[in-house]
């Protein structure tokens, strides 16, 4: 873990409220793993005061990419930051996904909404290791879909679900998981899920019923991101864990799910 002032290489609007930012951050990139995140100081002042956690969307040798959605003050300020400015970041943080090296497995990545963010880095890593991979992406409508082209460019099969049916299956990404064809055909599998809590819960349920291993990436409010403030508690069968340090990736079966 280290703190650095990373140069912003680009900060591009890819949708009305979503951006991809590329950073020059060799000291963090060199040890970063898919599923890890960084704490970003969006500006220099006290408004907002705290850093914001953002997943690593892509990890290159010296560069990092972030995919973020503008939902409030911090991300709004971030969206206005310009190329060549410096961004104060701490990372890499958290445990990251646990990649099973077995070639027998089919790795099923499932992302809802902005939850797709860390899955591209994961897909790229799985690709490098030549492991079988497929991606299920869920979004509200076709215009909310992110990442489809990037996954396809990796030669990975992508299946889509939209809540209004404007593209792909009409329903949730987890409905695709239920699809016999996916689970039945490729067993054994490993599921990696990132998205809203309801989606993670649904994915965990399907995984349990079908005896498939499932890793879920959790989002909790964080102040420090480094295991100090004890703010981002997650209730697990192994006791209280911190999403920032013990997670954000947990084995689905360890989570004590709460509404």
């Amino acid at each position: 873990m280290n703190r650095t002032r990373a140069k912003i290489l680009s900060n591009e609007r890819i949708m009305p409220d979503r951006f991809v930012m590329r950073l020059d951050a060799p000291s963090i990139a060199k040890s970063a793993k898919p599923g890890q995140f960084i704490m970003v100081k969006c500006n220099g002042g006290t408004e907002p005061l705290l850093r914001r956690p953002l997943s690593l969307h892509r990890i290159e040798k010296k560069r990092l990419s972030l995919l973020y959605q503008v939902v409030g003050g911090g991300t709004r300020i971030l969206s206005k930051r310009k190329r060549r400015e410096e961004l104060d970041i701490i990372g890499p943080l958290g445990n990251g996904f646990n990649i099973d090296k077995s070639a027998r497995l089919i790795n099923i990545l499932i992302g809802g909404g902005i939850g797709v963010a860390p899955l591209l880095a994961l897909a790229e890593e799985l690709k490098i290791r030549r492991l079988k991979t497929m991606v299920l992406i869920g979004a509200k409508t076709r215009s909310h879909l992110v990442g489809v082209e990037q996954f396809k460019a990796l030669g990975i099969e992508v299946r889509i679900a939209t809540e209004d049916g404007s593209k792909g299956y009409k329903g949730f990404a987890t409905d695709l998981l239920k699809d016999e064809a996916i689970i039945g055909a490729y067993e054994p599998a490993m599921i990696y899920a990132c998205g809203p809590k309801d989606m993670l819960m649904a994915a965990a349920g399907i995984a349990r019923i079908n005896s498939i291993e499932c890793q879920v990436s959790f989002e909790e409010r964080m102040a420090c991101g480094t295991g100090v403030c004890l703010g981002c508690a997650v209730n697990t069968v192994k006791g209280i864990k911190m999403a920032c340090k013990d997670g954000p990736v947990f084995n689905a079966e360890d989570i004590i799910w709460q509404k």
Binding site: M1, N2, R3, K41, T46, E47, P48, L49, L50, R51, I90, E220, R221, M222, A223, C224, T226, G227, V228, C229, L230, G231, C232, A233, V234, G239, I240
Partner: protein
């Protein structure tokens, strides 16, 4: 690395610190967490997360909410208990080579005494900070203990708690006070009379925030403690009030983010200062403040940091 500078040294009870900059309880873990990001041995002292006799699992989530220039927390003193602390955390802390002040919390006086007694025998503890002011012990969701008073909100209870701790240890005792009282000076006087060597001012201000979409509280435990720049003017006044009426060393804190903030606290009467929320944002801010205090002393031609203490000119 910050150089040793005699002009910055201060004393709190029996604890000698090479500079007056500490890190506040609950905002720096047990030291190890930030070891990658800051030169720990440059700090004046470290105050650990409050520990209790047995383990506590803490409060419901969300435990954090950001508010204007500040944050609310309702962690609920999550910790593994004193034995686990001594076994797993203390060895690392001891090796840093700076004073280690262990914060203790309890819901009854007997437990406070037991904790002090246990730590008195542990190797590598320089002092005890008695946290009689944590706002997050009561369960506000079920309103079961809603009326629960903090020890620090009643001068007789505060006196009794500190008296008990005093009887159990010869280590330096610092009492951490809540600002949620009508008159903080009478509490400071009570703990001084009970044998406290110093006071830490302030713990968080109780507060809340509401999600207007769901009409639910932003914190799982409904209320929490406010910290950060938002509380600084109020914390500063608490320090000034106590400095003017009770003769006891003060560790000032509440919203310190910059060297100037730290200097304000010293001018208002603090012997030492502590950074809390600032650590989350800039983990090495304390080092910058130590350096800047040195410059400030020099450029203002002061003999040492002690000459700055309480120097508010009115």
């Amino acid at each position: 690395m910050a150089k040793m500078n005699k002009n910055l040294s201060v004393k709190i009870g029996k604890i000698r610190m090479k500079n007056p900059v500490m890190v506040a309880s609950g905002t720096f873990g047990y030291g190890k967490e930030y070891a990658d990001l800051i030169d720990l041995k440059a700090l004046g002292a470290i105050v650990t997360k409050t520990i209790t006799l047995g383990p506590r699992i803490g409060n419901l989530t969300p435990r954090i909410a950001e508010t204007a220039s500040g944050m609310l927390n309702s962690i609920g003193l999550e910790n593994d208990g004193v034995e686990a602390f001594i076994e797993e955390k203390l060895p690392f802390l001891r090796k840093i080579g700076i004073p280690v002040i262990v914060s203790i919390g309890a819901e009854d006086i007997v437990s406070f005494k037991k904790l002090a007694k246990r730590l008195d025998r542990a190797k590598g503890v320089s002092g005890i900070e008695v946290n009689i002011s944590c706002p997050n012990l009561a369960d506000y969701k079920t309103k079961k203990e809603k009326q629960a008073k903090l020890f620090s909100q009643d001068k007789r209870l505060a006196y009794k708690a500190i008296k008990a701790v005093r009887s159990a240890t010869r280590l330096t005792i610092i009492t951490k006070l809540t600002p949620n009282v009508t008159d903080i000076t009478e509490i400071a006087r009570a703990v001084k009379d009970a044998g406290s060597d110093a006071v830490s001012l302030v713990n968080t201000y109780m507060g809340m925030a509401v999600d207007t979409d769901t009409r639910r509280p932003m914190l799982g435990n409904v209320i929490g403690g406010l910290s950060g720049p938002a509380i600084k003017p109020m914390a500063l006044k608490a320090v000034w009030d106590v400095y003017n009426s009770v003769d006891i060393p003060i560790i000032g804190m509440g919203g310190i983010m910059t060297p100037d903030d730290a200097i304000e606290f010293i001018i208002c009467g603090s012997t030492a200062i502590a950074l809390g929320t600032a650590n989350f944002v800039y983990p090495d801010k304390s080092i910058e403040i130590i350096k800047d205090l040195g410059y400030y002393i020099k450029s203002n031609k002061l003999k040492d940091i002690r000459a700055l203490r309480g120097s508010l000119s009115i």
